[in-house]
Amino acid sequence: MATTITMPQLGETVTEGTVAQWLKSVGDSVDKYEDFVEVSTDKVNAGVPSPVTGTIRELLVKEGETVATGTPIAVIDEAGAAKTALTAAPAATAASAAAAAPVAAAPPAPAVSSPNGAPAAAGVESESALRGASPAVRRLAREHRIDIRAIKGSGSNGRVTADDVLAAVTAAPSAAVTRTSTYAQPIPGSTVTLTQARRIIAERMVESKRTAPHAWSMVEIDVTDVWSWRVREKDRFERESGYKLTLLPFFIRAVVESLAAFPLMNARFVPASGSGQPSIYVNGEVNIGIAIGLATNLVVPVIRRADKLSIKGIALAAGELIEKARKGKLGVDDLAGGTFTVNNNGANGSWASAPIINGGQAGIVTMEAVVKKVVVRDDDSLAIRRMMNSCLSLDHRVVDGYVASGFLADLKQRLERMGPQGDL
């Protein structure tokens, strides 16, 4: 019996999905609950498990293609019914896989090594070689596109070890090198195919720059006291939570307080639609997006209801989101609903930046590098203080310089009044 699989709906507000990678080829066997395709939506990647055990009969959508949820994407012949097709397949599949492998371009199609399981086309010998392969060996073989069956094992009973795979990679570099260039390791003179995430970032940035007239302002903030407070608390915080305590949660706390004082900064411009007049919607919730740069893309997970959290609460939420982001485990819900964005830009020494507003928000504020400076104080004395610039980009349709500078001044005051001690 053939089962048609449709594009799943990954998240409440998602209407379409992109086939990022087929994990199975036509003719491959697939177990119930085994992932057979990787689907990506707006910055979230997810494997989709097969609802049945059987053999892939047809893949209806190409890799990289985006289709509406509910669109058929594959047909699987359920086990039992597929017996005849299965026995007919081996020769053809093996031949086409071998022919396809050298020219297989963009996706790392594991057609030859098929580390995801014993392929239907593989013979008895290869199955036993694969059966002894440890998870590490399978992963390394997949990453380097090495056929485990072609390697002589040095482990007990001839088992192929992880070191054997790595040795094979070094011995035959030509086999492992691909001609495709990736975003992470771009080759000069080659074209990099956009990942789904990169494409969305590009679209969003253009959209935001085109629709929201950006204006920009900057203040210099004396963070000496809040810095000392952080230093006083950081060891204990790290010991108790496992997360590092940076200046970010203190800054976010000040931002949410300033947003409460200037609600127009926590708003969005609603353009005219049909007969509706343009308007400004002032958000009820304060959900702070934090921009996190990863090797290949940018994600902005959201601390929901940040105004209801203490500094410690914000630090824990941010720590969790940052960890998830680094592990690629952010879910749809982690990324949705932001009303204002904070960009901690100073880690690498940046001193000023002009960020692009996250679409649908009124502003984005940055934390630049904290540097020690000699400052002249009100009583004309000189002092060495830790200073930090904070830059604001605002949607000039929503607010004017008057509100924006009020917001920045308020933010500056709040941060300068924080610390040097207290409860987090």
Partner: protein, 335 residues
Amino acid sequence: MAVVSSANSTVMNNVEAVRATLYEAMKNDERTVILGEDVGARGNVFLITKDFIGEFGERRVIDTPIAEASIVGIAVGMAMEGLRPIAEIQFADFIYPSFNQIVGEAAKIRYRSNGEYTCPLVIRTPYGGGVRGALSHSVSIEALFYHVPGLKIVAPSFPDDVKGLLNAAIDDPDPVLFLEHKKTYRLIKGEVPDGHYTIPLGKANVRKAGTQLTVVSYGLYLHWALEAAQRLQEENVSVEVVDLRSIRPMDKTAILTSVEKTRKLLIVHEDNKFGGIGAEISAMVAEEALFSLDAPIRRLCGPDVPSMGYALPLEEEFMSSPAEMADAMRAMVKF
């Protein structure tokens, strides 16, 4: 191994490190109180608190009746009301009567009072076998307690860690169960930095770097694992030995970092295998680093018998050895 005191450190064994740290705590903070069986006039069965009662008085060094539930219960009250009690259970084998006070009370005070009260309590106890201690002086108890959120468990193996971790345990606002392997008390010597310092709870330490296999251990077995790994070094087999130091919170990062490097994991501990610390580590690594593993995880642990017997052959049967550990390491590297 010859260890020499230098300008800024003193050579001590583990028992001396405990004593020196407790002395410093008593001296520096008058809220510190030590209570337990024989801690006063007798100065503790290992002489850890010898002469303390003379110097600090019997209001701060309290000889209790043989009633462990009371020792911990009283200490919980002291801790909640602002003192910094260090309760001693004379041998870990006697801790069971105080189980309810530790698990039901101390560990839950902060949660139950919505953060209004904390319980800055340290419970020290010597544990472990290999000393002909038989049924009532040999047991390992960590697995009975590590299931309990709200409780920290520390098991240092070297004198410098004893001092740094005991100081951290005393400073900690929540209850800490501090386990001292009694066989290592006088066996293990090392340099201990002078002056006050702490070592963060929940941080493991790579005691020996290596590339082919990760061994995670603590207590007496850590020393045996180091000995075995050293032996294998001479055979050009490179084993990394991670000293867990804190059992809870557990330093996942250190374990995962090492396993991702070596791709193989052996856990050795004296406590029983079934449901032990090694089970948790195995599960954690399987969850977080399956695709780094190039061999099945292996645990070399105490057998599932009620206790080690008094007769030497029975004790030896229970305990592992550096030779057995070396065999297990060789087999895993060869796998």
